[in-house]
Amino acid sequence: MHLHKYEKWWLIFGVGTLITFLLILGYGAFYLGTHPQSHGITIDPQEIEAEESFKPENLGLTKVDEGQYVLNVVASAFNYDLGTDEEGKPVKHIQIPKGSTVLVQAVTPDVIHGFNIAGTNANMMVEPGFISSMEVTLNKAGEYTLLCNEYCGSGHHMMFATVEVTE
C-alpha cells in the first residue's frame, strides 16, 4: 500500500498530536491524581440513611477544618436536599469561602441525577447504588447555580440550588 509523502507527514503529525494530548491527560491523571470521579463505593439506594454522611442531620455544608469543607447532598426527583437551617427550612443557598476545598458527596434514593455546579469542574453523575464524590476548589468568587444536568423526569429543570463563593 502506497502512502503519499505528504500523507505520511500528516499522519505523523496527527498521531503525534494525539499522543501529546494523551501524555498531558495521563500526566494529570496518574501523576497529579486528577481523575473524573470514580470511587466505586456502593450504597443501598433504599437505605441511604444507613450511611452516616447521608443522615438528615449531616446533610449540607460542614466545616471540618480551616479552608476544608464537606458537602453532603441527597439528590432526588426533583430536589437537592442540603439539610435544614435553624428554623427547619430546607437550605437552598450555601456559602463557601473562596479558595477552600470542598469534598462533595452525593447520592440518590431514586433515579439518575446530575450534580453540576455550573461553570466549574464540579460535574458528576449521581447514580442509584453509588456514592458520587469529588474534591473541588472554587477559586472565583460569585454566585453559581448547582443544577441537575442528567434528565430525571418531568421536573428535571426545577432541580437546583445556589452555591455562593464568597471573598
Binding site: 502506497h2 491527560l25 481523575h35 443501598d44 444536568n149 426545577m158
Partner: protein, 563 residues
C-alpha cells in the same frame, strides 16, 4: 514486495448494475420513511428551541420531555437507520446485486423495523415513554416501548444478514477478485452495527423487558448504562460511515475525478471497525462506578479511532486537488476555486465535511478524560452532535437524496430543484452555525442539556444563558425552514420531477492505480481483531461492575408521568 496482489478489477465490464422497479420500491420505502421521520423530528426540534427561548409554552399540557423523546428517537434512531439501510441496499444492488430471496427477506426486515417503530411511537405519544432516546434506568417506560426498540434492532439485523449474503454470493461468483469498494464498506458497517447492537439488545431483552413487565424486581443500573454505551458510540459511527462511503466513492465521480486510493479507503473502514466499539466508556467518564484505569484505556482506544478520520480528511482534499489539477487549474488553491459549487450533489456533502472539522475537534475534547468534566451533560454536547450527525451526516444524506431519489423513481434532478437544494444547504449551514455555536458557548458557561426552559435560581449566571437560548431558537427556526424545503424537494423528486434517467454516480479508480492488496479482504481476521479489542476493553470493567454491583433499582415510572 511479496504481498499477493489481486487481479486488476475491470469495473466497466460489470457495474453499475441496473436496479429493477421492485427493488427500487423497496429502497424508496426505507428512504421515504426516513423523510417522514425528518419532518416529525424536525418539528419537535422547532418546538424545543422555542420553549427554551422562554417566549413560548407548549399547548394542551404537552410535556417538553415527551417532545424531546420524540425528537431523539425519531431523528437519532429512526431517520438514520432507515436512510442508512435504504442507501446501503442501493449500493449493494448497484455493485453486487440482490437475489429474489434476499429481496423478500429485506422486505421482512423493513416490516419488522416498522412494526417496532410504530409500537415505540404509540407508547411515546401516549406519554408512557418520556425517557429520551437513551432510556436510562431506573426511569421506567411502558414495556411496549422496549419491545418496539428490540424489534427495530432485530429488523436491522435482517438487513445485516441480507447485505452479508449479497457480498458472499457475489464473491462465490467472482473468485479471487476484490469485492467492489462500496459493497466492502457496507459490509464493514453492518458488521460493526451487528456487534454493537448485541450490547443494547442484551440490555433491552435481558434487563429492561423483564423488569418493565414486573418479572424482575430490580435492575442493575450501571450495567444497563454500560451496555447502552457499548452500543451508543459505534452508533455514531454507524451514522458516519455511510457518509464516508459517499465521500470516498461517490463524490469523486460527481466532481469529475477518480478515487484517491482504494486501499486507503478500505483500510480506514477496517480501522473504524476495530476502534468504534471498545470506546463506550468515554461517555461514562463522570460516573462513580467505573474504574479509572479502564476509563483511561478506553480513552486511548478512542483516540485511535481519530486516525482513520485523519486519513479521510487527507483523501478528500487530495481527491479535490488531483481532479482540479488534472482539469488544468494550477496554483496552490486553483483546484479549490473550481470545485462544482453550483452542483448541490457536491455542495451539500462539502458543507457537511466542513462541519466535521469543528465537530471532530469537539469530539476529541469530549473524550479527553478530565476535560470531560468541563462539558459533560452541558448543552455543548448537544451542539457537538448537531455538527457531526445533524450537519456532517445529514447534509451528506441530503446530497445523496438529490440523485438517489430520482434515480430510484425514474426521474431527473432538474436545475430548479438543484437551485432549491443549494438554498436548502445555505439555510442549513446558517441555521446550524448559529444554533450550534450558541450551544457550544452556553455549554462552556455551564448551561445544561436535555432541560426545559428554567430560570433556576434567577442568578446572573442563568440570565446570561438566556441570550444563547434565544440564538438557538433563531438558528433552530432557520433549520426548520431548511427541513420544510427538504421535504418539498423530496416530494418533488419522488413524484413530480420530469421522467428521465438520473445517474447513480460511482467513482472509479485511476487506470494505473496501484492494485489493492489481498490482505484487506481477510474478513475473519478483521472480525477476530475487533472481538479481541472488545474483550480487552470491556471484560474487566464489566466483570467488576457485576461483581461489585450495589442492590438493584426498583422501577420509577412516576417521574416521567407514566402512571
Amino acid at each position: 514486495m511479496a504481498i499477493e496482489k489481486l487481479l486488476k478489477y475491470e469495473q466497466d465490464s460489470r457495474f453499475p448494475l441496473t436496479l429493477s422497479k421492485s427493488e427500487s420500491r423497496l429502497y424508496m420505502s426505507f428512504i421515504s420513511f426516513a423523510f417522514i421521520a425528518l419532518f416529525v423530528g424536525g418539528l419537535m426540534g422547532l418546538l424545543q428551541v422555542l420553549v427554551r427561548s422562554g417566549y413560548y409554552t407548549l399547548p394542551a399540557g404537552i410535556d417538553y420531555y415527551q417532545v424531546l423523546t420524540v425528537h431523539g428517537v425519531v431523528l437519532g434512531l429512526v431517520l438514520t437507520t432507515y436512510f442508512i439501510i435504504g442507501f446501503q441496499y442501493t449500493l449493494m444492488g448497484k455493485t453486487v446485486g440482490i437475489s429474489d430471496t434476499q429481496y423478500r427477506v429485506a422486505w421482512l426486515g423493513f416490516w419488522v423495523m416498522t412494526l417496532g417503530t410504530v409500537m415505540a411511537a404509540i407508547t411515546i405519544l401516549y406519554g408512557k415513554a418520556s425517557v429520551l432516546y437513551t432510556f436510562y434506568a431506573p426511569l421506567q417506560a411502558h414495556p411496549a416501548f422496549y419491545i418496539g426498540l428490540a424489534l427495530v434492532i432485530i429488523g436491522s439485523w435482517i438487513a445485516c444478514f441480507v447485505n452479508w449474503r449479497q457480498l458472499y454470493v457475489w464473491k462465490k461468483k467472482h473468485p479471487g477478485e476484490k469485492s467492489p469498494l462500496l459493497a466492502f464498506m457496507v459490509v464493514i458497517n453492518m458488521i460493526m452495527w451487528f456487534i454493537a447492537t448485541l450490547g443494547v439488545a442484551a440490555s433491552v431483552l435481558l434487563q429492561f423487558i423483564p423488569w418493565s413487565l414486573g418479572y424482575a424486581a430490580t435492575i442493575d443500573v450501571l450495567l444497563s448504562r454500560t451496555l447502552f454505551w457499548y452500543f451508543g458510540h459505534p452508533l455514531v459511527y454507524f451514522w458516519l460511515l455511510p457518509a464516508y462511503m459517499a465521500w470516498y466513492a461517490i463524490i469523486p465521480k460527481i466532481i469529475g475525478g477518480k478515487i484517491f486510493s482504494d486501499s486507503l479507503a478500505r483500510l480506514s473502514f477496517v480501522l473504524f471497525l476495530f476502534f468504534s466499539i471498545p470506546v463506550g466508556l468515554h461517555h461514562q467518564l463522570t460516573e462513580p462506578g467505573v474504574q479509572t484505569t479502564w476509563k483511561f484505556v478506553q480513552i486511548i482506544l478512542t483516540f485511535m479511532v481519530v486516525v482513520p478520520s485523519l486519513m479521510t480528511a487527507f483523501s478528500m482534499f487530495a481527491t479535490f486537488e488531483i481532479s482540479g489539477r488534472r482539469k488544468g487549474f494550477g496554483g496552490l488553491f486553483g483546484w479549490f476555486v473550481h470545485l462544482p459549487w453550483k452542483d448541490v450533489r457536491f455542495l451539500a456533502p462539502f458543507v457537511g465535511m466542513l462541519a466535521f472539522i469543528p465537530g471532530g475537534a469537539g469530539g476529541l475534547i469530549n473524550a479527553s478524560y478530565q476535560l470531560n468534566s468541563v462539558i459533560h451533560n452541558t448543552i455543548w454536547v448537544t451542539g457537538h452532535f448537531h455538527l457531526t450527525v445533524a450537519t456532517t451526516v445529514i447534509l451528506t444524506f441530503f446530497g445523496i437524496t438529490y440523485w438517489l431519489v430520482p434515480h430510484l423513481t425514474g426521474r431527473k434532478l432538474t436545475p430548479s430543484v438543484n437551485r432549491l437544494g443549494i438554498i436548502q444547504t445555505i439555510f442549513w449551514a446558517i441555521g446550524m452555525t448559529i444554533m450550534s455555536a450558541a450551544m457550544h458557548i452556553q455549554g462552556l458557561l455551564g448551561g445544561p442539556r436535555r432541560s426545559s426552559f428554567s430560570e433556576y435560581n434567577g442568578s446572573e449566571q442563568v440570565a446570561e444563558w438566556g441570550a444563547y437560548q434565544v440564538a438557538q431558537a433563531i438558528g433552530g427556526t432557520i433549520l426548520f425552514i431548511g427541513i420544510v424545503l427538504m421535504i418539498y424537494i423530496f416530494i418533488k423528486l419522488a413524484f413530480f420531477s420530469p421522467k428521465g434517467n438520473e445517474e447513480f454516480p460511482i467513482a472509479e479508480e485511476e487506470k494505473d492505480a496501484e492494485p489493492t492488496p489481498m490482505w484487506l479482504e481477510k474478513w475473519k481476521l478483521w472480525v477476530a481483531i475487533t472481538i479481541a479489542l472488545i474483550l480487552f476493553a470491556y471484560t474487566i470493567p464489566i466483570m467488576d461492575i457485576i461483581q461489585h454491583a450495589p442492590p438493584g433499582s426498583a422501577p420509577f415510572a412516576w417521574p416521567i408521568g407514566n402512571n
